[in-house]
Amino acid sequence: MREVWIQPQHAPVLLKVERLLRKPNAHPLIHALKGVSAAMSTGPVTTQSLLPDLQSGSLAASQRYTFSMVEGLEPVIQAVAHDYGDVHLFIAVTGEIAIAQATLFPVARVRDTARLNDRILRTEKLFDLANISIDSHPDGSEFYVIYGALRATSPLSDIEFEIDTLARNAVDAAGAYREFVK
């Protein structure tokens, strides 16, 4: 018998947690709770707080990636993937969402956007964890980009996995759609 002090409205959640903790394979839950408690103790994740984490993480340690801050009104992390032709990725955190993105190629260089868009809609699923969209820069120029979004409170290893996957997908996608680019 043990007394537990919680907010009354969280009782159903506690019941679920209790049931899961009775199982012998409760490790994923414990792992997730560690991530949550880290996130709750360090406050909300921001772009600024993510940079030092990435710089001391495994991607930077293996010298496969270089991370730096693009200073501006809203700071954004720039990652250079040395294994993937130094492709540039940009990472930003707002609220609960972290986004990593790479530019594929300018819309202006595409011969037939209708055919390319059709191809993208049919093949995008091959690029795991990624979406492809068209973005407009402030100067009006447009680009096909590939990006992935995930919860900002995700463990660092998940964010690193997302970044590494995105870099590979960006180069693969550029290769897959190159025939449409002049």
Binding site: L73, A92, I99, D139, F143, V171
Partner: protein, 253 residues
């Protein structure tokens, strides 16, 4: 939720017709922020309404308890009056019988009245309960809607930050090092590196072949200095000239 998307599509169409589609993202942020504020206000109202409804239900429950206590009280009076009526009947005191009977009648009427009040009170409590359930569902739905809206707004904002940063980096880099910024450029870079690596491997093979002397021998062989495969034709030619005399019919004995 579909209302939000409708507004976004309208903004998108408007932007497409008007200046540039860069306006879409700004509009999306504005619309989403407005929706979040509206949904927040609605949620607050629903929570206030729920608190009010629950308060009213509690008050009504207290009234019900009072009414039930009153009912019990009347039930007690009825039993007592009837007992007294019975006693008077046994004693043959007709006047008392009539008095108690009238009293019992009067209290029974009150009892019936109270019963009706209790039924009404129960109905009111049930009605409050229904409203409370509806409000709770509304609040849960509102909370989910706000969470979804906030995530969408966050995604749009993060996207905008990333777009601005990539534009800034592209503008800052010189025409040569800006080659590295898109995935297509990186792909070309990788392929160029691979080609260079292949060329290097070829060169390395040539060098190592030369250093072991194979290349020289091969060149000598080609020049015919060292007999090799090319000498085979010479050998055949030699044999052919040797055999030439025996081709003529042998001299007669």
């Amino acid at each position: 939720m579909s209302g939000v998307l409708n507004k976004l599509w309208t903004a998108l169409r408007g932007a497409a017709n008007e200046a540039g589609e860069a306006a879409v993202d700004a509009n999306a942020t504005r619309i989403l922020d407005q929706e979040i504020r509206d949904a927040d206000a609605e949620l607050r109202d629903a929570r206030v309404a729920l608190a009010g409804m629950m308060g009213k239900q509690t008050v009504e429950r207290n009234h019900l308890a009072e009414k039930q206590a009153k009912l019990e009280e009347y039930a007690g009076y009825i039993r007592q009056t009837l007992a007294k009526q019975k006693a008077a009947e046994a004693a043959g005191q007709q006047a008392d019988v009539a008095k108690h009977s009238a009293l019992a009648q009067e209290v029974a009427a009150k009892y019936a009245e109270q019963e009706a009040l209790i039924t009404a009170s129960n109905n009111v409590i049930a009605e409050y309960g229904k409203n409370i359930d509806v409000l709770k569902v509304k609040i849960t739905a509102g909370e989910t809607a706000i969470r979804t809206l906030k995530q969408r707004a966050d995604t749009v904002k993060a996207k905008q930050h990333v777009i601005k940063a990539s534009a800034a980096v592209a503008a800052a880099s010189s025409s040569t090092d800006s080659r590295a910024r898109s995935a297509l450029d990186s792909l070309e870079r990788i392929e160029k590196r691979q080609e260079e690596a292949l060329a290097q491997m070829d060169a390395a093979n040539t060098l190592s072949a030369e250093s072991t002397g194979e290349a020289l021998e091969e060149r000598l062989r080609k020049a015919g200095v060292i007999p090799g495969a090319s000498a085979a034709s010479d050998v055949l030619a030699r044999f052919k000239t040797e055999a030439a005399p025996s081709d003529s019919p042998p001299p007669a004995p």
